[in-house]
């Protein structure tokens, strides 16, 4: 009898285990405050808290993984993970290969940052992260583009004089400028590009996309999302 009970319990447990859907989220882990690897070695930042909340509301069991920015879309397509949550702007070009949920961060202005306020960005190389809307913008506007695999390196290029300016999300640059003791400063006016930040899913995963969309809608409706944005981006962060 005891044995029977044990087996039943085990079966019930394994059935429960199998029915809970595990969704793997992937992020870059190098784009604070959107996403970062914290000092404990875990994924942290705005998107960590946001992603966990979305999973809770959509009743999904989520695990986090990190992937290089450069290969983040191909690895989604080959099924290594199910959702990209990596500060990825929704663009028409990306929509051709993957699908996006609705945006969970409004279209943000991108900005130029140089060593001095009168730096002439048009004159010299402008650094940007590879395969980003910013890199595309720099290339289209005829400036000399210097691409780097990680966001940190794009800023380091300005610090060591390799590039005259860096062009990136102003939300990413703001803390760096504020804490640089005057070594970095915003140059010129911000430029609005991109269609907001969304979660990337495979085009065949419409069901998952629907669940995530519903969760984001509810987070926008009850103001949770705005509170999170305020917490990570400060008063300058754009709200819904």
């Amino acid at each position: 009898m005891k044995k029977l009970l044990l087996i039943t319990t085990l079966l019930a447990a394994s059935a429960g285990f199998a029915s809970a859907e595990v969704v793997r989220l992937a992020t870059e882990g190098a784009y604070p405050p959107f996403n970062l690897i914290n000092d404990k070695g875990e994924v942290g930042g705005f998107e960590r808290e946001f992603g966990d909340e979305v999973c809770k509301r959509a009743a999904l069991e989520c695990t986090w993984s990190t992937n290089e920015w450069d290969s983040i879309i191909p690895n989604l397509q080959s099924g290594n993970y199910d959702v990209i949550v990596a500060g990825m702007s929704i663009t028409d070009e990306r929509k051709k290969v993957i699908d996006f949920t609705q945006d969970y961060y409004p279209p943000t202005p991108s900005a130029f940052v140089g060593a001095t306020a009168d730096a002439d960005c048009k004159s010299g190389p402008v650094s940007a992260q590879v395969s980003t809307i910013q890199a595309a913008h720099v290339a289209e506007s005829g400036m000399t583009l210097l691409e780097f695999p990680t966001p940190d390196e794009t800023v380091a290029a300005v610090r060591n004089g390799e590039a005259v300016c860096v062009f990136a999300d102003s939300d990413y640059l703001r803390p760096l400028v504020n804490e640089s003791n005057g070594a970095l400063t915003f140059v010129g006016e911000p430029v609005s590009i991109g269609g907001g930040v969304g979660m990337g899913v495979r085009q065949s995963d419409q069901e998952l996309k629907g669940k995530l969309d519903a969760a984001i809608t509810s987070m926008k409706a009850d103001g949770t999302l705005n509170t999170m944005i305020e917490k990570y981006f400060g008063p300058e962060g754009l709200k819904y």
């Binding site: 595990v22 970062l36 690897i37 404990k40 992937n67 397509q77 099924g79 940190d152 085009q203």
Partner: protein, 293 residues
């Protein structure tokens, strides 16, 4: 890790540094050195085995076997490593998942390749989505070992078949004159004597292998170069321990590590070379004999 490190923002000086260097992320960094050493320890023998097989195949009397041996070495050596690491690994991963899907999936009607997307049912995913992060790391490590072994095995094939041809014909002929079979000649004369000729080439490969370990990063195995770049980058107050760009110091650390690795290897390999030359009909062996006499 320690109780005093609970609130890093209030720490200063050496305490801060001590806490910083023992943060969870730094412990991961230290572990990644073990990963790299483990990779070397597993890959080197695996590549030697593959290479030995390849060298034997490329001298085989059976033509198809010979083609396999020669083709393997020519093809892999002719393609840039990075292509292998980008393409071969994805192909291997998808191959494993494809084969597994044929056995474990209930519904096989959906096509596996849908445009750019690769689809197998959840049960066929390797590792399963429910697996621990460690399993994912271990799987990446396994893919890395296989890829490294195949790439370096091809170079070893070439080195060993060259070494086999360098063994003086007179040595083999003498053995034949003693009535040894082909197999006995190979085992007793050719193989023991070829190492001394193979060693310079193998030493080279070992050094290249040590330096190639940062390619691990392409396979999303977090290696020492990944951590050096990640830890060294400018950290704003979004992190518990903020600091300016310290990549220089981290990379200096890596420089010391790699130099130590190559120096130790050089010392060991010089000894091995001396040991192998003993009693050989080469200049080095002859010098040793005279020195002893």
């Amino acid at each position: 890790m320690f109780a005093i490190c609970a609130d890093p923002k209030t720490l200063e000086g050496l305490t801060w540094l001590g806490c910083y260097l023992t943060s969870g992320k730094h412990l991961d960094f230290y572990m990644s050195f073990v990963t790299v050493l483990a990779l070397l320890a597993v890959t080197a023998p695996a590549a030697m085995l593959l290479g030995f097989g390849g060298a034997m195949a490329s001298r085989a009397r059976l033509a198809p076997l010979r083609w396999i041996g020669k083709g393997y070495s020519a093809m892999v050596r002719g393609v840039p490593d990075i292509v292998y690491f980008m393409f071969f690994v994805i192909a291997l991963d998808q191959g494993i998942e494809y084969v597994r899907s044929r056995f474990v999936c209930d519904d096989l009607s959906a096509p596996v390749f849908q445009g750019m997307e690769f689809h197998v049912c959840n049960a066929a995913k390797v590792p399963l989505a429910t697996a621990s992060p460690f399993t994912f790391q271990a799987y990446g490590f396994f893919l890395a070992v296989v890829t490294f072994a195949i790439v370096f095995g091809a170079f070893v094939t070439h080195v060993l078949s060259g070494a086999m041809q360098a063994v003086p014909r007179a040595q083999l002929e003498t053995a034949e004159a003693y009535g040894m079979s082909q197999r006995q000649v190979f085992r007793r004369i050719l193989v023991p004597q070829m190492w001394v000729y193979a060693l310079p080439g193998l030493t080279n490969l070992w050094m290249v292998l040590i330096k190639a370990t940062p390619l691990l990063f392409l396979l999303s195995v977090k290696d020492i170069v990944y951590y050096a770049r990640e830890l060294g980058g400018t950290k704003t107050s979004a992190y518990a321990y903020s600091h300016p760009d310290w990549r220089l110091y981290y990379f200096l650390g890596l420089l010391v590590f790699y130099l130590l690795m190559t120096k130790v290897s050089e010392i060991v390999l010089t000894r091995v070379s001396l040991r192998l030359s003993k009693g050989q009909a080469t200049a080095a062996g002859e010098a040793q004999r005279r020195g002893l006499a």
